[in-house]
Symmetry: D2
Subunit: 330 residues, 4 copies
């Protein structure tokens, strides 16, 4: 399959480049960008110099003038992809890693492990990749909602992300010295991921879900952890929670249910530079709260990895093609 | 006042050393430690070489054979201070920075801003410093409980701490390469701070409180953020929450109520290497959740700074003596 | 003394604010900035809210319309201070933390420990603070040149700095994700600090000095280490090197000569958030190279701390006033 | 080929595991360790749970009782591999990632790009992998020595490494809080890599080489930069230096010669989690110093990547098999 990436110099686009360069069935034939148009790709990615992709030049994105490609990964700033992607020829499949098409008719929401979605993705030509926060939270909570183990209201999702989750661009606010040795909550007035979270969880619950969501910026490059709190529905215990998740993810190659060890949940480092996701469950009987953790690499399962997983399905390849690289840790 | 510190080479003890060296009324005359006994203090703290404290040698801690000191700061590993501190002469005041006396009769719980506590501390000779997590969470939540703005049950405290909050010792688990670029929840099976949190919040609420508490380890040296979720009691709005906190902290020199700006809560970096604390409030009307944030330096207001604040009160000095240093950021 | 700071929101300016707020003889009465003009100072430094300095507003810098101040600290971007500082009334003393006046007639080069400079600074009204790299390298090398223990040519200065040494502004190049987990040499084509280094070392050597200088950017906020290599002059050993430094710094309150321990040189963390500097010496007899290390906090002795030290001298205060705060480590 | 790894839980061993899991011709059939013997491999590497290697258990290393494997990677603590590896059956090929056999007769020194070595490695059954510091320094300097462009004495190698370069074990000294925001030189009294460096450079120079070597510990997980200084031999310019390197590395798939851009040398981040290496050259005509930089991932080309490259040669596979993964950055 001939592949293009637009937005190749952003964090998500760079990770797509890495994954596609190692993919057995994808060949990168076109890369696009805005500020970097005209620059040889190997100038931005020095390791490419001795490889075939190193011969590419970053092109200006003219959606109607794309070369003959089979699939386009779009990793554009939020708000910037609706208009241009509408002009891409319909025979070119698109995975939009950005946030503009997650509620758009004719686009399929591409979180593979949401049961109904895998089949829908496989037959789609336009797939909207999920946001990184929803991936972690939905993977952790969906099994509990599906199995009716938690109440669908009063859920709290407290999420923590490394800096690449914010996208490149807002550099001034996320300079090294301002971000290192610091930590804060944002989106307190309402984060754009809330409606997406609510929608995705409603798919799992089969009905409306209400939740509070607070993201935090953590001084690390990659990694995203969603710590989720919910009230139990009926009499439950921790084993029931993990069993439900194991049932849900029986055939999911990338989602692993782990038992807390010495009270510790999954570590984001377990997923670094990979498409793996880890979920764990605890039940605090004293206060009656279920605690579900979901850990991913925000650029992996939270962005580029999930996008390649979607592309594999759309193209009829095994879902895991090019995605079985182990995490790089440390 | 003649001051001693036992446990001076630990994270908390080192910060006490720094604060006492800069204190207008305290003179450091004795330092103790276990593994470092016999070592010149300036060997561990090279900047001391040209200063008077640099002449001290770290002594073995023999509680009955202390020199003539007026006050002892004890920063010993949890579980290790009960027996020795019981043997310290009664005329020597003690602030125990560790966790062994927080529920002990005859010891006063030293979180200054809990209204009843300031007076009790001022007349105490034995003060148990609060844990770092409770400081941040209680400062954020107490005003809401005091003013009856939130329900006292179903509270969620999701807290994130830098590595010095774990104390020195468990080094093997918190090596640089294992901790950097990583993030995880711990204490899922129940953290020792939960009973302390419950007790302290009950003081504010005037009745029992139930909560889920999940601490997280964040790859930074200092800084602690508690993000707290609670259901509102009656009709409330964000302004009522902040107003309640401003009323509670009207006379508190170190606690500042800040408005979220662009949806961002207080940053732990605002407090680095200082005794300041920051709280902020939001109300998510959609899901009916109050979100209260408390940000501190875990070694400052969360340990050594609070300990000096207590010592000031116990000795009749202004509460702020030696504590008005501005944060070092970045 | 009534003090003003222009450039208060930069890294150097912020550290000046911290030092002046804790200074026994300085009162901050005016703060200026460019992009932040009109903003209340406490907006940028939340801990100020409950303190007198918190009432200040950041003013536009109009050099001819300054209020009645005794001394101005100028921390402006390189290239931007010559013209405005020329217009400041002569009775206002100035310490320029930036790099524009280090070779200007009528300005005194303010590296206190260079023997001739202390007296010159004390009688100056215009002092150019040294660059952070020269401070570390000159403190390490000057004693050896003064005592004729190394050859004045063929010197190599390999220096490593935390990110705040680069100044605020070039944020795009020093975003968190681009800088964390990364390391590189810069200034390979010639760094602006080279002539300053050469001049300052020539003062120590009493003749011309030739050297290669390579700075590196290290993923940390603060800290600067200069590792310097030189050929010995005559028969020497490591003890002679350290003895020379001890003689040079006999009366220097902030410079400490330390012996390498287990082959380790001084750590930048020993100096964090302080005005202390550490130098150490080794002699590799096998290859005939002297290795001198100088470790400082680039914002402390490398910028704001040195600036306050200069201001103390200029105002007739003890050199150490307001500067004896111990390092905050970790 | 059936592969074993002993020392699989160390930093080097873990990276070997990652590389072998993605290798087209290698199958991991045995893993060994000391403290972790008896532990399921997937307990230490959670992402393995759904993969075939996840079924392995970490075995005690009994060198005479290994199963039928074709090649063993040994990543044991320095000093611990001589005796056990001597007992491994001769038909099992060995790559020793540790430092014990770098000067041992009958073992080939496995730095592939040293011209004579590639052929020697291809026919060897015992290969000693080079140290991480020598890899970076030798790749940078060897072309200049080979082409007679620098003098072979008076060389300075100032090297900086991330924390995984120190090996797992000395955790107490390299705890997160003690290492983060800190920087220091070590090995000032003589680092064990010096003789290895001297030997390897002598191979390139065709005669004895003398040098000063100072390693530094940098607060990052991975990455190693060697900044090397040497006096030019005859009239040279920067282009001659880079041309020599391009000639030397004409057929080297993993070593790239880059031009300094805006005076910046190669970044260690360009190599993270890959086997790529970058060298750059500058000539400071003012002081007559050649400055050569070599940047690698200390766990990649500096350890596990180089080890797999050697194993490929030893087994008759293309040198690049399993090693063409692009760097993960950020």
């Amino acid at each position: 399959m001939r592949i293009g990436i637009v937005g190749v110099t952003g964090f998500g686009g760079s990770e797509l480049l890495r994954l596609i360069a190692g993919h057995p069935h994808f060949e990168l034939v076109w890369v696009g960008g805005e500020s970097s148009a005209g620059v040889p790709l190997s100038k931005r990615f020095p390791a490419l110099a001795s490889r075939p992709e190193g011969g590419l030049t970053i092109e200006r994105f003219e959606p109607q003038a794309l070369p003959a490609i089979d699939l386009l990964f779009a990793s554009l700033p939020t708000g910037g992809s609706r208009q241009p992607l509408a002009q891409v020829a319909p025979q070119i499949r698109i995975v939009d890693v950005g946030g503009d098409h997650r509620f758009t008719e004719d686009w399929v929401y591409g979180l593979t492990e949401l049961a109904q979605q895998r089949a829908a993705i496989a037959s789609a030509r336009r797939v909207a990749n999920p946001g990184c926060y929803p991936v972690a939270a939905v993977l952790a909570l969906a099994p509990l909602l599906q199995h009716g183990l938690i109440e669908p209201d009063g859920i709290v999702v407290d999420a923590k992300s490394g800096v690449t989750g914010t996208g490149r661009g807002g550099a001034s606010g996320f300079g090294f010295a301002e971000t290192n040795e610091d930590l804060f909550a944002y989106g307190l007035a309402g984060h754009p991921h809330v409606p997406e979270l609510r929608n995705a969880l409603a798919l799992a619950a089969g009905g409306p879900v209400s939740l509070a969501f607070t993201p935090h910026l953590v001084p690390m490059n990659r990694g995203l952890l969603a710590t989720c709190y919910a009230r139990p529905r009926g009499r439950i215990d921790a084993a029931m929670l993990a069993d439900a998740a194991r049932a849900t993810y029986r055939d999911a190659a990338f989602v692993q249910v782990v038992e807390p060890e010495n009270g510790r949940g999954p570590r984001t480092g377990w997923a670094t530079a990979s498409n793996y996701a880890f979920v764990s469950y605890a039940f605090d009987a004293d206060c009656g709260q279920v605690i579900a953790c979901g850990a991913i690499d925000n650029l992996g399962k939270g962005a580029a990895g999930q996008a390649v997983q979607n592309a594999n399905l759309m193209c009829g390849f095994p879902e895991t093609a090019g995605l079985t690289g182990l995490p790089a840790r440390p």
